[in-house]
């Protein structure tokens, strides 16, 4: 789960990571008041779940409250397009008003899971402000790494990073403390990613997280009600939220062949084979291993809410989930919902013959394909036909 910058900073502060003084505002009026309260020059930062906000025009400097109000008027409500939002952009609902700091140096700090090691790794680079992916590609030796063992990052590791970054003088101690606090935040809040880019050293010897990106491990939210409450439904595709509530896994894509599959790997493979057959998948939808009739119905509803969908491919490899039970669910759902796009079914596994009988005797217009490839080809062809009608 992604959280906003202002939320991430609240969490960081709780664990002792210094951040600039800031106030989140959802109107230009409040942005003005925030600036007056903070005093002096501020930064007005759009709060959306995507990087590249500065380049997209979502981060502006303001020398006084008038300017801040003006900037906030432009930014709040704007459709911010960055390299991470896609061309449709994201509507800005609030801004973070923050004090400007006398920046002396910018550094990159990040913590991610190192899958091969099975442990988190703390990364640091002197090239703050740059994308870590870009540094990794062009200058990998510029990234310092410390593997975090059980019990969290040790002080000597944080010192090693600080020395490696060439941090000296009065900023050294605060930098080490901030890094240790960052590691604690990662561990104790079950984060799956934290990036501080940039982490800045100020002219007056402070070490401050100027920006913050934080993802929380969805699997851990059951034990973090406070973090779970940070979820912002405005930042999520409504259909995806509905799917989560139904125990389904749905991701909207740009194609026109909708698909319903059991299992994540098979669902991805089904998307791939649709493309191989010359079409484009409209979605990823994993109904899971134990889908019931209700879930199948919701799956259909979600797929059909996307007006791009011109055909539906259902690919089920019934194992534990018996194909006849599933077929009954499909028939019931199709009868209840008004499905006006062609459907192609590929069913395999336990009780498949019973399942096919149920579908054939239902009187509904399903095409049944013998295998995955034939199913994809038929679905793509029918999507084209349906589109021309």
């Amino acid at each position: 789960m992604k959280v906003h910058e202002y939320q991430a900073k609240e969490v960081l502060r709780k664990y002792g990571v210094p951040t600039p003084r800031g106030i989140v505002s959802n109107t230009a009026r409040k942005a003005r008041e925030a600036t007056e309260l903070l005093g002096g020059s501020v930064v007005v930062k759009a709060q959306i779940h995507a990087g590249g906000r500065g380049k997209g025009g979502g981060v502006k400097l303001a020398g006084n409250a008038d300017e801040a109000e003006r900037q906030a008027t432009t930014i709040i409500g704007m459709n911010l397009v960055t390299h991470q939002t896609g061309p449709q952009g994201r509507k800005v609902k609030r801004v973070l008003i923050e004090e400007q700091l006398p920046i002396n140096r910018e550094i990159y700090l990040g913590i991610v899971m190192d899958r091969a090691a099975g442990k988190p790794v703390f990364m640091a680079s002197a090239q703050g402000g740059m994308d870590i992916e870009e540094i990794a590609e062009k200058n990998p030796e510029a990234i310092l790494k410390e593997t975090i063992g059980s019990g969290g990052m040790r002080a000597f590791q944080a010192r090693r990073l600080a020395f490696g970054l060439g941090i000296t003088g009065e900023a050294f101690g605060p930098s080490v403390q901030a890094m240790l606090a960052l590691s604690r935040t990662y561990e104790e809040s079950d984060a799956s990613l934290i990036e501080i880019n940039p982490f800045v050293l100020t002219d007056d010897g402070r070490a401050v997280a100027l920006d913050a990106k934080m993802d929380i491990d969805d699997n851990s939210l059951f034990r973090h009600p406070d973090l779970a409450a940070l979820r912002d439904p405005d930042e999520e595709e409504p259909l995806e939220t509905e799917a989560i509530n139904q125990g389904l896994n749905y991701i909207k894509l740009d194609g026109n062949v909708g698909c319903m599959v059991n299992g994540a790997g098979l669902a991805m493979a089904t998307m791939d084979i649709i493309q191989y057959a010359g079409g484009m998948p409209a979605n990823f939808l994993d109904v899971g291993g134990g889908a019931n009739k209700d879930q199948i119905k919701h799956g259909f509803r979600i797929i059909l809410s996307d007006s791009n969908v011109k055909a539906i491919l259902i690919n089920i490899f019934g194992g534990i989930l018996k194909v006849d039970v599933l077929a009954e669910g499909i028939v019931a759902a199709a009868q209840e919902l008004d499905i006006d796009v062609p459907m192609v079914l590929r069913l395999e596994g336990t009780n498949v013959d019973r399942g096919r009988e149920i579908l054939e005797s239902s009187g509904l217009d399903f095409a049944v394909a013998a295998d995955m490839k034939a199913a994809a080809e038929q679905a793509v062809a029918r999507a084209v036909q349906h589109n021309e009608q």
Partner: protein, 287 residues
């Protein structure tokens, strides 16, 4: 032969709720010798013909299992794995989906230097058709034979196995290593076992987007594996930055794409099936 599970595997099932009971019975149908169940509070009872215990320690001292199958819900699953490790169970298959990564980091720590090999979590488990089923895969689509299958996915594995069986090609062992970022056994571990198993004559390896496990496995195949290997990587059409069902299936920072993985497999001499529907026929041609 076959790997990991055989006729001699003695299974303890941890977590006998509705799913645990259902699957335990299915495992029995496909050859698993279940000697004990562990479910706190149900010690002294019996289920499906095997005795129940309150703890792994009790189950081990009374029934001497050498493999465990875990269905404990996500919040307690890591604890169940740690209990199995403490009891020195040789092989643990954890089916549970949704275990927090931090819990799995602690498990990975405990596994190092232990006597236990963990399969999963978030996986279908292991089956040696005709011998033993330690997992939730549909036993009836499998057929005893000599092809080894290793995969990060569940149903996509069944798809591959179904194709093989349909072509009359049986399997020595099928291993689902799981779709999570931190797992107990990786591709390389299983490839090594298949390569030294005299009964296995060919291998199917099914990967997916995210991480670098496929690239590392390809490197290993190139240097060590003498048997034909056929591969597939799911997720060529997956958008970057989105978690595709499995917590581990996410393309981040341009890394972990299907294209890069396919290229790595091909560079290692692995025959890559053009579509998931061609896994069986590609393997048949490679044998």
């Amino acid at each position: 032969m076959s790997i990991l599970v055989t006729d001699d595997t003695r299974v303890v099932v941890q977590g006998l709720g509705r799913a645990g009971l259902f699957h335990a019975e299915q495992c029995q149908r496909f050859g698993a010798k279940i000697v004990a169940g562990v479910h706190p509070g149900r010690g002294g009872g019996e289920a499906l013909g095997f005795p129940m215990f309150n703890s792994m320690r009790d189950a081990v001292s009374r029934t001497d299992p050498n493999a465990s199958l875990i269905f404990v819900p996500a919040s307690g699953a890591a604890d169940a794995i740690l209990e199995a490790i403490e009891s020195e169970i040789e092989l643990v298959a954890c089916i549970t989906e949704g275990i927090p990564v931090r819990d799995m980091v602690a498990v990975a720590d405990a596994l190092r230097g232990s006597r236990t090999r963990l399969i999963g979590p978030n996986c279908p488990g292991v089956i040696s058709p005709g011998k033993c089923k330690l997992g939730i895969m549909p036993g009836q689509v499998h057929k005893p034979g000599s092809v080894g299958v290793v995969s990060r996915s569940g149903t996509l594995t069944y798809e591959a196995v179904g194709q093989l069986s349909g072509l009359g090609i049986g399997q020595s062992t099928c291993v689902g290593i799981g779709g999570d970022p931190v797992i107990g056994t990786n591709f390389i571990d299983v490839l090594e076992l298949f390569n030294s198993d005299p009964e296995t004559t060919g291998i199917i390896m099914i990967g997916e987007i995210g991480g670098t496990a496929e690239e590392e496995a390809a490197e290993y195949v190139k240097g060590h594996v003498t048997k034909p290997v056929v591969g597939f990587v799911a997720g060529a059409t997956a958008p970057p930055g989105r978690r595709m069902g499995h917590a581990g299936a996410i393309i981040s920072g341009g890394k972990g794409t299907a294209r890069a993985k396919q290229a790595a497999l091909e560079a290692a001499g692995i025959e890559v099936a053009p579509t998931p529907a061609d896994l069986g026929s590609t393997l048949a041609a490679a044998l």
